[in-house]
Symmetry: C2
Subunit: 200 residues, 2 copies
């Protein structure tokens, strides 16, 4: 045997990390393996399936042994941001396989199905926004050298300041939104609407 399915997924993640989702084509993954494009179809039925396997790998081991919903979300976000365009890959795959994820089940056990869904969608959306924004910043697309009437970016309450601490502000922004949702879950469970658990 020459390449296994795991080799293909690993190569795809390498291409993703080095070139981004836009250039993570079947042909480039094949080239990364030193193989013809058609060879990939021996391991995987189509590109969508390969992306789903990559998503599984990206979130593998997230929140193991974490019983606190807030820390679980923060850990998921960390995993999404750890690889280039990771949030996009996982969010797209999750849109098809929603409910099939282990993370959602664990979150649902802590805060209920509605709370889990709300937390996950928020976490995916914010992580996607974060990666898009940081990448644009790195490319200088959002250089914004006119500090006069700059529109307030989503997630930044004040002006972005130096490019380096934009990430810190995005982290804080995520945390504040997370706290809003968790406060809402506490309020709802206090009203007896939800199964109350894990919200101390």
């Amino acid at each position: 045997m020459r390449n296994s399915l795991a080799d293909v997924v690993a190569a795809a993640l390498r291409v993703l990390g080095e070139h981004g989702l836009e250039f993570c084509s079947m042909r480039r993954v094949a080239a990364e393996l030193g193989v013809q494009p058609s060879a990939l179809y021996h391991h995987v039925p189509d590109k969508q399936t390969l992306l789903a396997l990559m998503a599984d790998e990206i979130v593998r081991g997230v929140g193991i042994g974490i019983g606190d919903p807030r820390r679980l979300c923060v850990d998921l976000r960390r995993a999404l941001l750890a690889v280039r365009d990771g949030a996009d890959v996982v969010a797209t795959a999750a849109a098809f396989r929603l409910g099939a994820s282990e993370i959602e089940d664990r979150l649902a056990a802590l805060v209920g199905a509605d709370g889990a869904r709300t937390l996950l969608l928020y976490t995916f959306g914010h992580a996607q926004s974060t990666q898009t924004r940081l990448q644009a910043l790195a490319f200088g697309v959002l250089a914004d050298p006119a500090p006069s009437a700059s529109p307030t970016p989503l997630g930044a309450t004040v002006s972005p300041g130096s490019p380096a601490d934009a990430e810190a502000e995005l982290d804080a922004s995520y945390g504040r939104g997370l706290d809003i949702i968790l406060a809402g879950l506490r309020a709802s469970s206090a009203l007896g609407t939800m199964e109350d658990s894990g919200l101390r």
Copy 2:
């Protein structure tokens, strides 16, 4: 003159509605106008810009004269779901132009910047999930004729039941998540953390 920018955007929205985002290529939009692909580049610098203009059109007029954050979100969701793949188009464009949207500004005036961001990301994410899911249902991909150990779909607390009322359950699912976030905003503003307004 033969075609205006507005004609191009209108044609693109027609292609989107009839064939979906996957097949909404520059070449197909050109064919819809009876024109060569290269002709589009007289009106628009690239495809990304065209998608952004389509997004603007999809959300145009959303929440006009609506002072209640909940109704504003519901109205936005209605607009996203009104056109095929509308949530995808708007969410992708919004990821680049976050904060530049009028809707976000209006929402921010009602519930603060953090609340606005949280509500928007949740609304985009849930609408994307809804459209993906309903389309898969229509194609029979999620036919799921084995009612035994079916995994619980994200957004469905119970089994999907008949295909027709899946949409109603998704609407209700969206509403419950929305109420969680709004309850969190009320709790936070009661703590004096947020500027309190519009949350009665």
